[in-house]
Amino acid sequence: MPPRLHITKTPKCYVGGAFIRSESGRVTALHDASGAFFANIPQCTRKDLRNAVEAAAKAGPGWAKRSAFNRGQILYRLAEMMEARAVELTEAVALSGASKAEAARAVAASIERVVHYAGWTDKYEQILGSVNPVASAHFNFTVTEPMGIIGVIAPDDSPLLALISLILPAITSGNCVVALASNTQPYPSILLGEMLATCDLPGGVVNLLTGLRSEMVPTFATHEHLRALSGAVKEADRKTLKLGAAESVKRVHLLKAEEPIDWFADKMQGVEEIRALIEFKTTWHPVGA
């Protein structure tokens, strides 16, 4: 018998809980490390980004209202989905030339990170919030709230670990995310979308786009419904993003992509990353009869 011809997959972006091609119909051919054609990746546009923001806006209130316990269970379910497809994820990370061992380490760290944040959903509030001993006869407390929709811009390197490290602290606290994946290694984000789709995360909470950073950054910068920007980008993009952010007083939390970033480091995860993407709200009430 001749060898069976395998079915190739058409990569699609995960937006609003559905798998989409770019509205533009444009694709970019992706090649593996040996130079062989691998697949066509959607080259999303500013319009796709705006659609994704709309999807996130629909999903946002529901996600923020989920109980912390429920968000934790959903994130843990994401780890389960990734673990089950760890081999496939490893191959995707290794596609552009990383060794299998390096790729496996990145996948393992990514899954560990998901579990780490799954445990934070019902704990960060007790670390970050407070009851404040004011001098007057008032009960005064500070709680956190998600900011809303976070624009995430992943660096080219560490296509899975960096992307998920940027997404997780945002959704742990009930934000929604519109993320742009690595330009040079977009395929892991395609797989991640499939896992997000099967982990009980409501559609629209995380939206993953592939496309050219140069095309998308100006829209990330100025889209007023994005309340914060988080990512690792180079100097020129940082300036563009901050200039745009000024127009609607957007929060900006950017790392320098031109400097080496150790995404495996413990300090790349945790409650301080969650803190960067929440608001503090303080409520006063008189204490009396």
């Binding site: 001098a135 008032h138 200039l243 000024a246 007083v249 409650v271 608001e279 709200k281």
Partner: protein, 494 residues
């Protein structure tokens, strides 16, 4: 023939009108003012390099109080270099326990000279003496006292992580609470181990420069605190100086945005406390007399020169007439006039420029079709004053319902359901504060959750405390001041 019921008697009240005048009760202690104020750089008062000064006036009399040094970029540079030197050689490596002791000293010295500072504040800024005496100055001292105790406990701010100061912090503050805003900025910055270059507002520099004397009396090492007075260009020089790696600004959203733009190409950490257009929401089950006190305090405190002022009153339709009637009765007895008089409720508007802005916006309210009401009270012949003013028949599209007036002007809107109240309250680019008045606990918690604002006052308004984080959502800025959350904004998590 249906029998008409007799109309209920209106609530009885004692109306004395203008029968008696209050005797004047002026505050008379000596504010110990100088004729000329120099810059406070590296522990000394120094003349500006170019020798330029500008006058500061008493807005209640339009008379000159003193000449204030105008710092230019070269003066700001000297201040930043002094701050950097102090950070590297002394302050940055001093144990937190020792830094804290300096802050305690400052708190104590401010308390010692509280009356003098209160009077200087009122003379220079126009706010009623009872507010500067009972609120601004004691609260400023309280901020130093609170943050003093943090200086040796910083590792508790970011559990599991190390923290470190930024180095030199550049700060620009507004004219509505000159000394208090200085305290909100300087106390946490110093507790965290930073050194400071601060620019006070152009119209209210005196208490900031007097604070330089307090630093000297406290024996604070030279260069830890530097005060550079001046106008917008001075502030821009502070914000843009390469040595100020962290900047903090309190002021209008417009200026905040321009600072953000000007620093877009830098790695500076920023915190912004910007404008507001707060909704003060009164439900039909609220304790109405208390609510009316809260409405009055919310909008007329400090002549409405408050970024978190409750400038939009949202009142449930069924009680709108009652609330309006009570409100009119209450504001009829507000005393507008000499800020130095202990009985004065509303003092002078801070500057002619601000008075013009308020007047223009009030005019726009009339032109847009809202109904204007003011008490018609007598105003002093000289100085900048504005009557407590309320607008009814206001719609969400009116400028007076959207723009920050920063004056004693209240816009009243109505709502029917809690959902409509939330929708109207949140329908603004701002998100600094909000008020909720209701007897129902569960409704308070739900409203507080749904209102997009950094501070929610429930059955109270305009309360502040050093332990309580203050700051906005959306275009009201980012970062917090006060509490453990605010202090961490002055540290790097490493």
């Amino acid at each position: 023939m249906p029998k008409t019921l007799p109309k209920p008697n209106p609530a009885r009240e004692l109306v004395f009108g203008e029968l008696w005048e209050f005797d004047p009760a002026p505050e008379t202690a000596d504010p110990k003012l100088k004729k000329r104020y120099d810059l406070f750089i590296n522990g000394s008062f120094v003349a500006p390099k170019k020798g330029k000064y500008f006058p500061t006036i008493n807005p209640a009399h339009e008379t000159k109080i003193a000449d204030i040094a105008l710092a230019d970029a070269a003066d700001v540079n000297s201040a930043c270099i002094a701050a950097q030197k102090a950070f590297v050689s002394v302050w940055g490596k001093m144990p937190g326990k020792e830094r804290g002791k300096y802050l305690y000293r400052i708190a104590r010295l401010l308390q010692d000279r509280a009356r003098e500072f209160a009077i200087a504040e009122t003379l220079d800024g126009g706010k009623p003496i009872k507010e500067s005496r009972d609120f601004d100055v004691p609260m400023a001292a309280a901020h130093f006292f609170y943050h003093a105790g943090w200086a040796d406990k910083l590792e508790h701010l970011a559990p599991g992580r190390q923290v470190a100061p930024h180095g030199v912090v550049g700060q620009v503050i507004p004219w509505n609470f000159p000394l208090l805003m200085l305290a909100w900025k300087i106390a946490p910055a110093l507790a965290a181990g930073n050194c400071v270059v601060l620019k006070p507002a152009e119209t209210t520099s005196i208490t900031a420069l007097k604070f330089g004397e307090i630093c000297q009396e406290a024996g604070l090492p030279n260069g830890v605190v530097n005060i550079v007075s001046g106008a917008a260009e001075t502030g821009a020089a502070v914000m843009q100086h390469p040595l100020t790696t962290k900047v903090a600004f309190t002021g209008s959203t417009e200026v905040g945005k321009s600072i953000m733009r000007s620093l877009a190409g830098t790695d500076k950490k920023m915190s912004m406390e910007l404008g507001g257009k707060a909704a003060n929401i009164v439900f039909d089950d609220a304790p109405l007399d208390q609510a009316v006190e809260g409405i009055v305090n919310g909008i007329f405190f400090n002549q409405g020169h408050v970024c978190c002022a409750g400038s939009r009153l949202l009142v449930q339709e069924s009680i709108a007439d009652t609330v309006l009637a009570k409100l009119k009765r209450r504001i009829a007895v507000l005393r507008v006039g000499d800020p130095m008089d202990k009985n004065t409720d509303l003092g002078a508007i801070n500057s002619r420029e601000q008075l013009t802005k308020i007047t223009d916006l009030v005019q726009s309210g009339v032109e847009d079709g809202a109904e204007k009401y003011d008490t018609g009270c007598k105003l002093p012949a000289k100085g900048f004053f504005f009557r407590p003013t309320i607008f009814t028949n206001v719609s969400m599209s009116h400028r007076i319902a959207r723009e920050e007036i920063f004056g004693p002007v209240l816009s009243i809107l109505t709502f029917r359901t809690p959902e409509e109240a939330v929708e109207k309250a949140n329908n603004t680019p701002y998100g600094l504060s909000a008020g909720v008045w209701t007897d129902k606990g569960s409704r308070i918690l739900k409203m507080s959750t749904q209102l997009k604002a950094g501070v929610v006052w429930a059955n109270t308004y305009n309360k502040f405390d050093p332990t309580s984080p203050f700051g906005g959502f959306k275009e009201s800025g980012f970062g917090r001041e006060g509490g453990k959350q605010g202090l961490l904004d002055y540290l790097r998590v490493v």
